[in-house]
Amino acid sequence: MKSRSLVAIDQIDKQELLDLLARAQYFEAHPNSKILDGKVVATLFFEPSTRTRLSFETAVNRLGGRVIGFSDASTSSTSKGETLKDTIKMVSNYADIIVMRHFIEGAAQYATEVTDVPIVNAGDGANQHPSQTLLDLYSILKTQGTLEGLTITMVGDLKYGRTVHSLLMAMRHFKPVFNFVSSDELRMPQEYLDVCEREGIEYHLHTEFSEDIINSSDILYMTRVQRERFSDVMEYEKVKNLYTLHNAMLDGSKPTLRILHPLPRVNEISTDVDDNPKAYYFEQARNGVFARQAILTRALGIDPLKL
């Protein structure tokens, strides 16, 4: 049987992405059911991430499955020196599927190589976080009614921000126009610009976060600029407020514009934006449950649309 693990969003093709989104849509309409009745889902969080763990566990609970696992490596055998391989092999005896988060990059990929139980990557360091990307895609689809031909503006830390890289990789199937707004130090890495070139995707690099860019956008994807990313503290002080969105900047924007953010936010979206109907970042998080229900059922080979 084809592996149903999900380690990285770019492992799955356009058709499978659309299938996952259709599932998410189904689960939004039918959030509660018993289709995971009798299934045991292990959530192994070697690194704490309350938001992601609760979202996955809610997804399981609403579908009638059971959850085992840990929320912090200090409460697992890892603290006694057990290797990742041994932990995965042991848990594979108990669970039908493993959802794992690890600070080590490549941990989820490696896990798929030591067990036949499907693995769902819930984040491996700065590497991949496919369920975040799926919920971003679902949020875009839901608010715009389509994924095709949208103008997507990514703002902030485009160099280290894994969410923007994964979103770019997922959106490449849908003929977008990208605006990449960042300081030179945090600009989109060349390998992703190469992807755009290869796929014939229009993109524009900007260092100024102007209203013209906002007014042309369908989606504003804001990210956090972290101080520790800067080799030069002066440089950070110089740019930290250049990429903050204020409510007044949205005056000329499209009525259908929506603002997304993977959260947590610090100061890159001013709180005066929160009550603007274009602010979507809180509802975006709610879509995470449906996206994760989609991922879990796909990984288990259960098709809710055919039940």
Binding site: I104, E105, G106, A107, Q109, Y110, G125, N127
Partner: protein, 155 residues
């Protein structure tokens, strides 16, 4: 230096493999990658020999062993110009360049300290793209990408 003296530096081989045109600085890494330390047949290693193309080169002669092609290709990253001669009964029966495989397993260390290959006992795996000076290696596990020149080898 006369040509007879040049030949003295590397004794003739009846059967086996000669790997020539290895850059001098890569010679001992190549020896390690090929597992030559563990062989009990006669092995001749020469280094810092004059080379028109490389300036200074190394050469490895191994008696009675014919390495498989995929084994020899493991040194292509550090010795891209290496030439392999298969010798049978003093005759060169096959002569070919090494070529870089699509994936490099267990040769290059991942330079990302947070990569799983630096934490668990597993062979590294890199996906190779590009050619010549533009070779890029992407870690199969953490996706960290380095140029061929930046890659640090292990074994």
């Amino acid at each position: 230096m006369t040509s007879s003296k040049k030949e003295l530096a590397v004794a003739a081989l009846r059967n086996g493999t000669v790997i020539d045109h290895i850059p001098s600085r890569a010679l001992f890494t190549a020896v390690r990658i090929l597992g030559i330390e563990g062989l009990d047949t006669s092995v001749t290693i020469g280094n810092n020999l004059a080379s028109e193309r490389l300036g200074s080169k190394g050469i490895i002669k191994v008696a009675d062993v014919e390495f498989a092609e995929d084994v020899l290709n493991r040194i292509a990253l550090i010795a891209p110009d290496a030439m392999v001669n298969i010798i049978r009964d003093y005759e060169v029966v096959e002569k070919r360049h090494v070529s870089l495989p699509d994936t490099l397993v267990g040769i290059v260390r991942c330079s990302n300290p947070k990569c799983v290959t630096n934490h668990e006992k597993i062979p590294t795996r890199f996906i190779v793209s590009g050619h010549g000076a533009d070779v890029r290696l992407r870690c199969h596990y953490c996706n960290h990408t380095v140029s061929g020149a930046e890659a640090a080898t292990i074994q």
